[in-house]
């Protein structure tokens, strides 16, 4: 069947425009750089982040460009694997929140008033729950683990996305091309999935990249309190470990935190750039 809406397959043109947008370019470079680090962690990291490879608390040298920690572990390896953990968490949580947000948002906009009201009450409630502190409580009671953290952040980070999807679907469902599809005899689901949602996606992508940044910050904060998964290295864990050695080993604190800041900055800039490129107003 014909796709009646505005063509969505402009993606190449959009990528081109993204790369010509100041914020977007830096965002793309930072995010893809960190993604590469995360994917190639095994090749980039000089050592196993849990294994002692040198003298303890050694300041940065050629052999250990980011120094070693109190147990003689290589900080660079910790940062590389920690970046992998942060990004893995961000990607999985984003997929989960994206899915929930799209389902809740489009149900609220597509079904009648009642469903809308009920779902929006739920959305407001979840939005009011302080995510960070809920995570603290749940991890304190159930024990640490990446799996429950993903589930928890996934189940609490979607309201913003749902609101954006709802607003988009509400405005799109009145448009002529949806009318046209309906008059051609297309069913509800078909219209929603083939016509409406693809056109609602651009602002959702922006929100997802911004929310991924906040997920990275929350995980870092939790690990900094010692609530991270003890079986994987994370940037927050490294920062937590550095806290006791601030007076003697600045490098233990400086590099992991910088990696968090870069990841968050990259995702924020990517979101800003996407917003400029994808929103109808931002086309320069």
């Amino acid at each position: 069947m014909l796709a009646l809406g505005p063509r969505v397959s402009e993606s190449r043109k959009r990528l081109f425009r993204l790369l010509h947008n100041g914020a977007g370019r830096i965002g793309v470079v930072l995010t893809s750089g960190l993604l590469a680090v995360a994917l190639l962690a095994g090749w980039i990291a000089p050592a196993d982040p849990f294994v002692s490879v040198g003298p303890p608390l050694r300041s940065p040298t050629l052999a250990h460009p980011m120094g070693t920690d109190d147990l003689g572990r290589d900080v660079l390896s910790g940062v590389v694997y920690g970046t992998r953990t942060s990004l893995l968490l961000a990607v999985v949580v984003s997929l989960l929140t994206g899915a929930i947000g799209i389902i809740v948002g489009s149900l609220a906009a597509w079904q009648g008033r009642r469903t809308d009201d009920a779902l929006m009450r739920v959305t407001e409630f979840v939005q009011a729950v302080p995510r960070f502190f809920l995570a603290v409580i749940v991890i304190a009671l159930f024990g640490p683990g990446l799996d429950r953290l993903i589930l928890l952040l996934g189940l609490t980070s979607w309201p913003w996305i749902a609101r954006v999807v709802r607003a988009e679907v509400l405005s799109l469902k009145q448009r002529e091309f949806v009318e046209a599809a309906r008059s051609l005899g297309a069913g509800h689901l078909r219209i929603l999935f083939r016509q409406v949602l693809p056109n609602a996606l651009p602002p959702v992508v922006v929100v997802v990249s911004l929310s991924a940044a906040s997920v990275i910050l929350i995980e870092a904060g939790l690990s900094f309190l010692g609530l991270g998964d003890p079986d994987v290295v994370s940037l927050g864990y490294l920062a937590n470990n550095a806290q006791r050695f601030l007076r003697v080993a600045w490098w233990m604190a400086a590099f992991p935190g910088a990696a968090i800041a870069l990841a968050v900055l990259g995702l924020n800039l990517l979101g800003d750039g996407l917003n400029d490129v994808l929103s109808p107003r931002g086309g320069h």
């Binding site: 409580i137 010692g226 935190g257």
Partner: protein
């Protein structure tokens, strides 16, 4: 609010581990377990337990700390002032400086000052507060000795009266600035964007055409620009408090953050749950205050 109480209750009940076994030991006999269950009301149906819990919370009874042996409410009340002092100082700092810097950036749009401020704001917004705290500690407190490293007062040199106040402010400066940076960055960006948008609006053009001075025009525009910004700041209360907790841990500031950390280490669940409840209520109150402030500032909105 009611939803929060139910959520808190559910977390308590879903948590692994039977509280009776925690209290009575693993090798108690069945009769003793039954006695404990009856004593703490754990043999009642769940809805009834929920009602009891809600009634207790409404009476201000949040349970008793496992470790300190005192009521959770009093433990939290003891730490709350320090956190409130830190949070409110940071909020005032970030709002005042954010409006100032945002206005500056908007006035000198696309000039070096604007570009520098924008870059700084982007970096400031992305920096985790605990890391900024660590770096500030290393550079300014440990490195130069300009600021005290930890705590709220100088324990070796207790002061009274005005000197005590100055001592507290000296300790407060660094954590408050560090905590303010994230919000400051956000406020600066929002004020800049809002003002630039307002500069294109008719009412600003009219004000300029009347020959009002530029500072008058900006004051005029700011009133309109501040409305959405207040909403954003209010909606970030939860993020702001979590930042405060982390900054407190870095600077050993004796507020809720320190309490959270020590309760985590000693597995003092009643205190943790009580803190979660208090913080959630605080976040909801912040949202409420935001809405009311919005209504006060915007004559178009009236709550009946």
């Amino acid at each position: 609010m009611a939803g929060l109480l139910v959520l808190n209750f559910c977390i308590i009940h879903l948590a692994p581990g039977d509280p009776v076994i925690a209290l009575g030991g693993e090798h108690g006999d069945a009769a003793y377990y039954a006695f404990l269950r009856a004593r703490f009301g754990l043999d009642r149906p769940l809805p009834e337990q929920l009602l009891t819990y809600v009634a207790n919370v409404l009476r201000g009874d949040l349970g008793t700390s496992f470790v300190l042996g005192r009521s959770v409410a009093s433990v939290i009340a003891e730490r709350l002032p320090a956190t409130l002092l830190l949070v409110s100082t940071a909020l005032v700092l970030s709002s005042v400086a954010g409006v100032g810097l945002g206005t500056l950036a908007a006035r000198y749009r696309r000039r070096p000052a604007d570009i520098a401020l924008n870059t700084a704001a982007l970096l400031g917004y992305a920096t985790p507060s605990f890391w900024l705290g660590q770096i500030a500690l290393i550079a300014l407190a440990v490195g130069t000795g300009l600021f005290p490293v930890q705590g709220m007062t100088d324990a070796r040199n207790p002061q009274t009266g005005l000197a005590h106040l100055m001592d507290v402010f000296h300790h407060l400066a660094l954590p408050a600035i560090v905590l303010a940076v994230n919000e400051l960055a956000l406020t600066t960006r929002l004020v800049r964007t809002g003002l630039l948008e307002a500069f294109g609006a008719d009412y600003v053009r009219a004000a300029r055409a009347k020959g009002l001075s530029e500072s008058h025009v900006i004051r005029h525009a700011l009133r309109n620009v501040m409305l959405p910004i207040i909403t954003v700041i209010g909606s970030r209360a939860g993020m702001f408090l979590s930042g405060a907790v982390l900054v407190e841990v870095v600077f050993a500031w004796p507020g809720l953050g320190r309490l959270l950390l020590s309760s985590l280490l000693s597995r003092d669940y009643p205190v943790l749950l009580g803190m979660f409840l208090i913080i959630s209520i605080g976040v909801i109150l912040a949202n409420l205050i935001t809405d009311l402030a919005y209504a006060r500032l915007d004559p178009r909105i009236r709550y009946q």
